[in-house]
Amino acid sequence: MALAKELITRLLAGAAVLWAAASLAFIVLQLLPSDPVQVIYGADSTVTPEMRDRIRADFGLDQPLWQQYAGFVSRTVTGDLGTSYQQRRTVVSIITSELGSTITLASLAVLLAFSMAVLATLATAGRDNWLRRVISSLELVSVSTPAFWIGLLLLTFFSFQWPIFPVVGDQGWKSLVLPVATLGIALFGTLSQVMRNEMDQALEQPFALTARTRGLSLWAVRWRHALRHALIPALTIAAETFGALLAGAIITEQVFGRPGLGRITLQAVRNQDIPVVLGVVLFSAFVFVTINIIVDLLYRVVDPRLRARA
């Protein structure tokens, strides 16, 4: 019962954030000095006033402001993000057609980054030795290195110096290796840093000592008891991780010439195709809110203390 109540509260809060995001997007559209007709046909085009009016009517720009707002929000709620100025397709169809490629890239990269972070955490938390210093330095490099440069380095060595992997194009799993590595390496540092920080603290708590005095080995304490604590901050930053993933995907897709959400976003930004830009922004807000709701529910799975309290 408590779970259902919390779920409803979460959903309502999420809906409020999305409504605010849609309103913000609407305000931005209104503040925009540029005229969609100009974006579509170019500044120096010879569009007759009648044609201009018809186009404005097509986009609903002739209605009173409150009607435009109501229409915009209700369309957004029903999943209609408008029509691209440039491509004459709905924003939703543009996003869905490119989404699969980005999801493949992002989920494999998360898997890679997460596995590396768990290994790094298990091996170095609560210790002060050379391995920890090496891994800490690697994390620092990972968070500080521009993702596109990681990609260019991988290309330089593994495609040009030793032609193991293809430079661009789709050649099955082979063309996924370098992009996934790029995004995974870029993500690893942040994840690993917060997880180890938490595990450091967990290992100093009395339960860790108790487990040791019961005769458990250091590795068993880490694996069976402390790792669970390290997973909590990893969950907390899951939504931020999604943001980092999306940003990283935009860059990675550009480096390796891959199709995906990043490519259409960059294209839309360059062409000032505002409906697509706002569509991607709203879509990312939707995913962000959804992830946060799932994370709140997952806390209960990872952390039994929360279940007991409810």
């Binding site: 954030v17 968070v143 500080s144 521009p146 440069w149 250091l218 360059r270 830009v277 706002l278 807000a285």
Partner: protein, 287 residues
């Protein structure tokens, strides 16, 4: 028992090493790197041996040598000179964007924290919504409206980092507001504006300055990324991200084209992060 506690609690050593007051080697190195970058930014002609814009098509894509220590690019320009000149763009954008974002963050966070009530609630909900968007996506959206160029990506990066600073300021105001000295000032009948400027502001800004040191690094990272995506300065500007995107097509014929601008960018970002963390650790220890 002692053996066990050593094995469990090794992480505490890092802080005790810090407390001894000796500056770690990494921090010294970071300071030296940043000093070098600052010289490059202020007086590039002093460091760079060649004109960063002068093409020499007869010497295009030459590997590193004594004449060109970082080699030459596709147009025969000296990569070292270009990389040196590039420092000014990154440092300029990093510093100005952070300063702008911090100033706006203080203004918004302070108003929200001091005003309280509905204004606070409304401002913080807007901040929450803005924090829902990845920074790069938000700055890209701003560029979509403003257009490309150095000034516009500077503004875009600043706008994207305002929400984070505003939230920190507001949280800090909440802590300071309930503290004894603010209470005392109020009881003594000081005007609210004076309390705000004399007590709340200074105690809020301190922690923020420390955090903004770390912010400069990520602003530089963002500016390099936006430039790489072609949203920043235009060719032939010697900006690091732009140099890498222009050089990408020539990686097959010359690895050095893709290496050195990235080395400079990464070294600058790592150094600001190392220095920022050191300052943060020092001030945390004092608090």
């Amino acid at each position: 028992m002692t053996n066990l506690s050593i094995e469990m609690g090794g992480a505490g050593k890092a802080t005790s090493r810090l407390r001894r007051g000796r500056m770690p080697l990494g921090v010294v190195l970071a300071g030296l790197i940043l000093a070098f970058m600052a010289v490059c930014a202020v007086a590039p002609g002093f460091v760079a041996p060649y004109d960063p814009y002068a093409p020499d098509l007869l010497a295009s894509l030459k590997p590193p040598s004594t004449a060109h220590i970082f080699g030459t690019d596709q147009l025969g320009r000296d990569i070292f000179s270009r990389v040196v000149h590039g420092a000014s763009y990154s440092l300029y954008i990093g510093l100005c964007a952070t300063a702008l974002a911090v100033a706006a963050g203080i203004l918004i966070g302070l108003s929200a924290g001091v005003a309280g009530g509905f204004i606070d609630l409304a401002l913080m909900r807007v901040i929450d919504v803005l924090l829902a968007f990845p920074g790069l996506l938000m700055s890209m959206a701003v560029v979509a409206f403003l257009g490309t160029g150095v000034t516009n990506i500077l503004i875009a990066i600043a706008i994207a980092s305002i929400p984070g600073y505003a939230r920190i300021v507001r949280a800090q105001v909440m802590v300071v507001r309930t503290s004894g000295y603010v209470e005392a000032a109020r009881v003594l009948g000081q005007p609210p504006m004076r309390t705000l400027l004399r007590h709340i502001l200074p105690n809020t800004v301190g922690p923020l300055i420390v955090l903004s040191t770390l912010g400069i690094g990520s602003a530089i990272l963002q500016s390099a990324a936006l430039s790489y995506l072609g949203l920043g300065p235009k060719a032939p500007t010697p900006e690091w991200g732009l140099m890498l995107s222009e050089g990408q097509g020539y990686l097959r014929r010359g690895w050095w084209v893709g290496i050195f601008p990235g080395v400079f960018a990464t070294a600058t970002i790592i150094s600001t992060t190392v220095l920022g963390r050191y300052i943060k650790a020092l001030t945390d220890g004092r608090a």
